[in-house]
Each structure stands twice: as C-alpha cells, then as structure tokens.
C-alpha cells in the first residue's frame, strides 16, 4: 500500500521521488539535446563534410571508412553532408551519398529538406553553369524521391 502511494506521488517519499526526477530531468535534457550533439561531431565527420562541400568522392569514401557518419547533423545549422554536396551542385556525389543510405528527408535547423534548399538556391542562381549543376542535383533528388 505504501509503495503504491509512493509511486503515485501521494506520500512524502513519493513527493521526494518525483521532485528528484524533475530536478534531474532538466540537466539531463540539456546534456542530451545541447551538449552531446556538439560532442558527437568528430574529426572524421568534419572531413566528410569538407569532402562533400568540395565534391571530392574519393575523400568522402576515405572519411566514411575512417568512421565518418552519413546522417550526422552539422552543429551550427543542423544540416547533413548531403546538403553540403547538394548546394554546391555535386550531382554525382549526391547520387553516391543517397545510394549509401543518406536520408533525403532529413531537415536542417531551418526546417527545410535538401530538395527545398536546392530549389530555393536554384531560384536565385544567375550563373548558368552553376544553375545547370543545381538542376542536375534537383533531378537526382526527385528521382530518389520517386524511387522510394
């Protein structure tokens, strides 16, 4: 009976139990949602993002082999390596990342998916060569979506 009262938070022990849980929940939440995502971003991930920005497929392979993770989010804007390859118009690399299992539905901190970001970038690109590269990325992403 006493145990039941405690679990329902009705007696003194129960109140202490729930108060302790509440007090511990706040720092635990901060650590889980704020501190750990930053700490989880390793050197291999850093190299993966750099290779993705420059469209360097071989370097992407190397950093993945070294322990870089495909769907890890960047600490500043929450975007993945797929976003980095896509906005710079590296269609081949985008295809390769998708084939390896990169999540095409991942959203950055601004709440947009890769396709939305690239379509937005295409709309204000004036350089024809870059616009063509972005169009290629858009078609790769649309094909991946159709194949799902």
């Amino acid at each position: 009976m006493n145990l039941l009262y405690m679990l329902l938070g009705l007696n003194r022990a129960g109140r202490i139990l729930y108060r302790t849980l509440f007090v511990l929940a706040v720092p635990a939440g901060v650590v889980w949602f704020v501190v750990l995502p930053g700490l989880r971003f390793h050197d291999a991930d850093e190299r993966l993002f750099r290779a993705a920005r420059h469209g360097d497929g071989a370097a992407v392979e190397r950093s993945l082999a070294a322990g870089g993770r495909l769907n890890v989010a960047a600490p500043v804007d929450g975007k993945t390596a797929l976003f980095r390859a896509a906005v710079f118009g590296h269609a081949d690399l985008v295809r390769m990342l998708l084939k390896r299992g990169a999540d095409s539905q991942a959203r950055g901190n601004d709440g947009r998916t890769v396709l939305e970001v690239v379509v937005g970038a295409r709309a204000d690109e004036h350089d024809p060569a870059k616009a063509q590269a972005l169009d290629a990325v858009i078609s790769v992403l649309r094909n991946a979506e159709a194949g799902r």
Partner: protein, 208 residues
C-alpha cells in the same frame, strides 16, 4: 551584534553594486561648441572644415544636440557613408586619425518610438554601406578583433569578399561563432566556393 553584521553586509553589497554599475554603464560623453561646429561640418559635408576643427581639438566621440537628439560627429559620419562618395570616407579617416574610437560610436538610437543614448559598434554601422577604405581605416586605428566577428559574417553573407579578407587578415577568427551563423556556414549559404576555401585555409570548421 547580528544587526551590526547585517548593516556591514548591506554596506558591502551596496559598494559592490556601485562598483559593478560603474563598470557596466559608461557615462555618455558630452561636448560643447567645438563639437557642435564639428557635427555641422560633418553633415554639410565639409571636409576642410572638419579637418580644421579636429586640428583645433574638437572631439568626434562627444555628443551634442543635433535635430532634437544627442549625436556624436563620429556616429553621424559613419551613418552617412554611401558608395561613390569619397568625401564622406575622407571625413571618417580624418576622425579616426584625430582619435575617434574604432570600437564604438555614441549617438541616440530610436527603437519602437523610444530614443536612447547608446554606443554602437563602429564597424557594424560602417557595414550598412560597406567600403573597403573605411574598414581598412577602422582596422588600422586598432579594432578589437572580437568586435569584427559579426562584421565578418555580414560581409560574407552580402558577398563583400574584399572586406572579409581584410577582417581575417586583421586577426578576426575565421572559426568564430558570433551569432546564428559561423563564417563558414555563411559562405555555404551564399554558395561562395572561393570564400569557403579561403576560410578553410584559415582554420574554419563545421564545429567551431
């Protein structure tokens, strides 16, 4: 006995508060007739007169009444900068040479109908209408590199590569994180490959 201890504690606390407030709030600097003449010459804009007034000891950092509000000649000179107006740049350079503060400029700011006398970052005012010569002059006058971090992100967002290069070479950290964006993420959002590579060479990383 307890009462005496409490009184002493209260006195110490008040002293501490006084010391803290005198550190946190700088007294606004006010000027006199010379500064009024300097403000008039600045908004005219009359480069020769500004130079002669500065030579005669007018302080550009001090505020005087101008159009119903207190403004310093230094703040007005920064706000009135526009492209293709070399005389406005000359005024800014003359003031920096005469001791204008390269970090902050005093003036009255309006926000939602409330007017306040505050000091704003000089380089951020200059970034409203960026000009290489002005930024170079502010850097040469001794800008604290920490205050250039926001300006660096702004310069990259608006595609002002020259200014971004100037700031990084002046010692502003390419791997800083002053606001929502880092310089690297700003370069990625602007899809500026040259700037991105430049920042990488100077140590910018995804995780700052």
């Amino acid at each position: 006995m307890r009462r005496a201890a409490a009184t002493v504690l209260a006195a110490i606390a008040m002293l501490g508060l006084g010391a803290a407030s005198s550190c946190a709030f700088q007294r606004p600097p006010y000027g006199g007739e010379k500064e009024s003449a300097l403000v008039a010459a600045t908004v005219a804009p009359d480069v020769k007169k500004v130079q002669s007034l500065l030579a005669s000891g007018a302080d550009p950092n001090k505020m005087v009444p101008y159009k119903d509000h207190y403004q310093s000649a230094w703040s007005l000179a920064l706000y009135q900068l526009r492209p293709q107006h070399p005389e406005l740049v000359q005024i800014v350079r003359a003031m920096l040479k005469a001791g204008a503060n390269p970090e902050t400029a005093w003036g009255t700011q309006e926000a939602r109908g409330i007017y306040r006398q505050t000091d704003r970052s000089a380089i951020l005012i200059a970034m409203l209408h960026p000009d290489d010569d002005v930024i170079r002059a502010i850097i040469e006058a001794g800008l604290n590199p920490r205050l250039g971090q926001n300006a660096l992100v702004m310069a990259i967002e608006t595609g002002q590569s020259n200014i971004a290069h100037l700031l990084v070479e002046a010692g502003v950290d390419a791997n800083c994180h002053p606001g929502a964006l880092t310089p690297l993420v700003a370069a990625i959002e602007a899809r500026d490959v040259a700037m991105m590579s430049y920042l990488e060479e100077h140590g910018a990383r995804e995780k700052p």
